[in-house]
Subunit: 338 residues, 4 copies
C-alpha cells in the first residue's frame, strides 16, 4: 500500500515526497523494483519530522502508536490501516481484539470515502482510509440503501480479491504454487470489513443493516470484484436502477456506472459487466447491475483495485480534497487492456 | 468433456474404447496432446455402430439428434450435455429456446447424480449427466434442504469457474489476455443451470425452491467453487451441521465433508476450507461449511472439477453403476498439491 | 496495439485524437473496456481524412495498402506492423511470402528504435515501428555488438512473451485453458523477427550477425523477457560491462541498466535481475546482465512490454521526436508493484 | 517432493506406506490438503524404524545426516535431494559450500536416471535422484552427445520452471503477487544443476562438456520446459534426428519423442511442440526438436514435471527397478488437457 502511494505521489504534479520510513534505512527500490532509480529519501521511523501530510501505511499496532505523535507535529494524517475506521468503540475493540489506545482520535477521524464524505474529508486532520472490500460494497449498495429499496437484513456480498490485497507479508496461502489454479475462501463469516460496510450503509439507511460478507482470494494480483445480492421490497426495473445510480454518482469523478450499449454485435457482448482488469492500477470504481425479475433479485457488481481506489489512490484523492487541489489531480490514469 | 472421458476410460481396468467420433477423422491427439500415442480409433459420426455404452459429448443440437439412433442400436447413452436434464418440458423449451425434438426420451432419462439417484441410474438406458455448477450446488445444499432447515426462497449461490468449464470453442472472454488478471461474471441472473438446481432441490424439499445463482469465470483452468449462502429458520450449530452432512454422505465414495481438525498450529490454518486445486482432475467433491451466529447465516462451500466430478468422471461413475461394476473403479485418483 | 496507442494518446498533453477507424463504426469501448466513456470518434476506414500523424495498427495486407494513400494525404505515418521493417527486399519477400506492393516506401521508412536512430526518426515521414522481440534483443545486444566484443555467429536469444503480444485475434494456443499452466514454444527457428535483429545488429557490427532466436508464449498477459547469450572473444568483467551499457544508454530516457546495489539484506536479493512486471504498461526497457567466468558466457536480460516499449509507447516516443516534442512527454508512467 | 511421493505411493498397487516423518507429528493433511483422509501414520524422525526403502525428501543437511543411519538399518534409500548427485568430491564441496560429511556413500550412490543407468539402479542401495532441470537437459541431449554430433562447448540450455519446483518454503519471489504476471531469472550462471548435466553428458561423450544453463521461474505451478540449443559439426536432418531419438529411447516407457504428424489441418498446428501441461502430475518426459538449416542450429525441447518425472515419480520408477517390479507400475497416469 505504501509502495503504491509512492508511485502515485511520484507522478503527482503538486506533490514533493519528503521521505519514506524504513527501519533498516534501505532504499525504496529494495522493496519496490518498479521504483528503481526513484531517489526517494528513506529515514528511520524515529527521525520523522513535520510535513504537510503523512500517509500512514504501517501495520496495525505501530500505525496506532505513531498517529498521535504525527498529529502533534502538525501533520495531517491519512491512515491506510484499520485503526480509526469504526465509530463504535466496543465494536472496534471486539473485532480487533484489543483496547484502543487513543479512542478520542478515532472519534475525530473521518471515514475516507470521497463519494459520501467529501466535505468532512476536506476539513479533517485524520482520515481513516476505508478497507478495499468495504469501499466496493459501500459504493455498490449506497444508492439502493439510501432509497430504502431493498431488504436491509439480507444483503449478501461475495468479495473476490487479488492477492496484492493480502499485503506484502509472506503467507502460506499466498505462496504461488498454493494459489495458482486455486481459490481460497478465508474468514468467511464475520469478516472485519463487514463492520465498516454495516456502519456506512447504516448511516445511509438511518437504521441497522446486515451484510453477509465472504471474501475469497483468487489468482490474480490486482483488484477485487464484489458481487452484491439484494432483494427488493417490490419489483425494480433495470433501467430505472441505472438512472438512480447515475444520479447518485453524477459528481463523482471516479465512480462510474458501466452499462453495455444497445447495439448488439457479438463483439460487444464480451464485456457486458465491469472488468476488474480495466481498473487495476487506477482510482476508478466501475459499477454494473442486473435484475432477475423471475426471482426478484438485484445483483450489483463493483470492481476496483484494492491498492488503488480501494487504497492508496483513494488516499491521494482524499489528500487532494484536504489541500484544496483538483480532486482528480494525478489520478487520471486509465487501466490496461489487455 | 469428451477428451477427459477418454483419458479416464483409457486408464479404466474394465473398459475397452471401441471408437471416438471425429467429423474429419483426425486422430484424437490432434485435439488432445495429453493423449499423444493413445491409439484410439476415430470414425466419422455417420459410421457409428453398436457398443455397450456411448458417452455423448456432442454440442447441443447434434447431441439431441444422435440420441434416438444410439438407443435404437441398443447402446445405453450417457448424455454429457443439457438435452435431457429437466423434467418440465415447458421450462426446458423456454430455457433452451427451442422445441424439444424427442421429449419422451427426456421423460425416461435419469438425472445422473449418483449421491441421489444411484438405483435409478443403475437401471437407466439414458443418463442426463448434470451440469457442473448444478452438481456442486445440489451436493452442497441437499442435506439442509431435505431437512427443511433453511429458507427455501433465499438461497444465494455464487459459482466461480475455471475456464475449462467453458468448453473447447474459442471465445473472446476466454482469450488468455482478456481473462488473465481478470474476473468475468456472465449470465448473472436466470442462468440455465439454475433450473437444474431448483428441480433437484425441489424434489428433496417436496416443494418449490428458489436459487439465486451467479457464475463468474476466474483465471484458473480446472474446477469450480460454489459459495452457497442459506438462512436458517432457527440458529444452527456448526458441529451438528457437519454431522448431518457426514451422515447424508456416509455411503458416497466421492463426496467428502472437509473439516479442519482441532489442533491449531499455524501450518494447518492454511487450508481451513476445501481447495479446488485438491480436486482438479478427479471425481471428488469436497464440502466445507461455516456459520455466522451473529447474523444467522450458513455458508456451504463445495469444490469439484467441472469436467471431473462435474462432468466426465461422474459419467464414468454412472457407467460403473449401470454395468454393475464397483462404483469407484477407475476413479480413485487424488488431486495434486501443489 | 491500436488500443494501447489510444490509451497513451488520450493521456498525452499535446495530442488531440482526430479519429480511430472501425469497419463497423462501433465505439472504441466495444473492443476496449478500459476506454469506456472515452468519446473517441470512430469512422469507417474509407472516410479517412488528413491529420498530422497516423498510427497504422491494421493487420498486414490492409496496412500495406493504406499507407501510400495516407502519405499522399500529407499524413506522417507510424506503421506498427511489419510492412516496412526490413531493408532487403528479397529477404522481406521471402520471409513474408509475398511480393511487396510498394517497396520504394520501404526504402524511405526509418526503423523506429529511438536509441539508435533518433535523428532519422525526427525527419521521417514513415516509421517502421520495430517488433517487440526485436526491440528487446537489439537493445540488449547493441553495446556488445558495436564494440565487437562477442562472437557474432553464436548469439542465442530465447524470448519469453506474454499473450498480449499475440494480438487480439482468437487462436487455439491463446485460449485460456490451453495456456494456463502451460508454455508454448512457436516458430522456434527462423522466426521473422530474427531478420530485424540481424539487420540492426549487423549495421552496428558493420558485418553479418547470426541470431539464434526462439520465442515461447508464457501465461502472463503483458511483457517479454529476452535471455540473450553471447560468447566473448576474451574474458569480460561484469562491472566493466555495466559501465559500457550505462555509457551507451546515457542519453536514452527509457532504456535503463538495472543492477542490484551492494548492500545485501535478504530482502533486496529478491529482484537481482530486471522484472518484466515492472515495465508492463510502460515505455521502459530494463537491461541486466551477468557473466559466467568459468564457461566464458555473458547473459544479457532485457524486459519490456510488447505493446508498450515494444510497440505503441515506442511509437508515441517516435511521434514526440517527429514533432519536436520533449521525447518523454506523455510516457513517464512507472510500472506496478505488485 | 515428499507429498507427491506419498500421493503416488498411496495409489501404487505393490506399496504399503509404513510411515512418514513429521517433527511436530502433525497429520499429513496438515500440509497436503489433497491427501485429506489418507490415514498415513506420521512419526517423529527420531523414531524411524526399518523398512524396505526410504524416500528421503528432507532438506540438505538433515538429509545428509539421516542417510548413514537409514542404510545401517538395512533400508535402501532414494535420496530426493542433492547430497549424492556428483561424483567429484571437490566439485560437490565447492558447489554446495561445505565439506561432505560422508563422501564414501556418495561414491556408492547411483545417479537415478532410469534411461541411462537402469541396471545399476536395480542393484543400488542408495539412489541419488536427479535434479529436475538436470533430468530434462540430460534426456534432451543424451542422443546427440553420445553420437558426438554437436559442439560440446557451446550447449545453451534455458530452463523455464513452475514454482512448485522451488519447494514448499515461503520465499519473496514465489509470493503470488510478485510472480503473477512476472518472469524471474535466478542463479543465471553457474547454477548447481549445471554440474549434474555436465557430469552425465560428459560420461556419454567420454570427455568434457560445457553447458550454459539459465533457469527462470514462470507463473505456472507444475512442470519445466528446457530449451536446449546445440550447434552441429555438420548439417543435420530433422527426420534423421527424430529417428536417432526414437531409437535411443525405444525401451524407455516414459521418455517419448513428440512429433506432429504430416496432416495439416489448422487444428493440429496448435501443439507442434511438446506441452508441459500434458506431463504435469506424471512420470512422462516429452521431447521435441527442430532444425534451423539456415543458421545450423538444433533446438531440442524437453518437458517434464519437476516433482513428477523430474522428482518423486522418477524415484518411484527407481524403486520399481530396485525391487524387481514392472518398471511402469503405479506410474501410468496421463496428464490433463486442458
Amino acid at each position: 500500500m505504501g509502495g503504491e502511494a509512492l508511485r502515485v505521489l511520484l507522478e503527482h504534479p503538486s506533490v514533493e515526497i519528503a521521505w519514506a520510513t524504513s527501519r533498516r534505512e534501505e532504499p525504496i527500490e529494495a522493496f519496490h523494483p518498479n521504483l528503481y532509480g526513484c531517489g526517494i529519501r528513506t529515514i528511520h521511523p524515529d527521525r520523522i519530522g513535520a510535513c504537510d501530510v503523512v500517509f500512514n501505511a504501517l501495520p496495525g499496532d505501530p500505525a496506532l502508536e505513531a498517529t498521535p505523535g504525527l498529529l502533534d507535529l502538525g501533520c495531517r494524517v491519512i491512515d491506510l490501516g484499520s485503526s480509526f475506521r469504526l465509530r463504535d468503540r466496543e465494536t472496534w475493540e471486539r473485532v480487533y481484539g484489543r483496547v484502543h489506545p487513543c479512542w478520542p482520535l478515532a472519534e475525530r477521524a473521518v471515514y475516507g470515502i470521497p463519494e459520501l464524505h467529501a466535505e468532512a474529508i476536506a476539513a479533517a486532520e485524520l482520515i481513516a482510509n476505508p478497507g478495499c472490500f468495504s469501499s466496493a460494497a459501500i459504493l455498490a449498495l449506497a444508492p439502493l440503501v439510501r432509497e430504502g429499496l431493498v431488504d436491509l437484513r439480507s444483503i449478501v456480498v461475495d468479495g473476490l480479491s487479488g492477492t496484492a490485497g493480502a499485503g506484502a507479508a509472506l503467507a502460506r496461502p499466498i505462496h504461488h504454487p498454493e494459489i495458482a489454479g486455486n481459490l481460497l475462501p478465508y474468514n468467511v463469516v464475520d469478516h472485519r470489513h463487514t463492520y465498516e460496510m454495516e456502519q456506512e450503509l447504516g448511516l445511509l439507511a438511518d437504521g441497522p443493516v446486515s451484510v453477509h460478507f465472504t471474501p475469497v482470494y483468487v489468482p490474480i494480483s490486482r483488484g477485487i470484484l464484489n458481487l452484491c445480492h439484494v432483494f427488493p421490497e417490490r419489483a425494480l426495473d433495470r433501467s430505472r436502477l441505472l438512472e438512480l445510480y447515475r444520479d447518485f454518482y453524477a459528481d463523482a469523478p471516479f465512480t462510474t456506472v458501466y452499462d453495455r450499449p444497445k447495439q448488439s454485435g457479438a463483439t460487444w457482448q464480451y464485456a457486458p459487466y465491469p472488468w476488474v482488469s480495466s481498473v487495476a492500477g487506477t482510482n476508478h470504481c466501475l459499477i454494473g447491475l442486473d435484475v432477475d425479475p423471475r426471482r426478484n433479485r438485484v445483483l450489483v457488481m463493483a470492481v476496483l483495485d484494492s491498492v488503488g481506489k480501494g487504497g492508496a489512490h483513494a488516499a491521494v484523492e482524499n489528500m487532494n480534497l484536504m489541500f484544496g487541489l483538483p480532486r482528480s489531480l494525478g489520478l487520471e490514469r486509465r487501466g490496461l487492456h489487455p
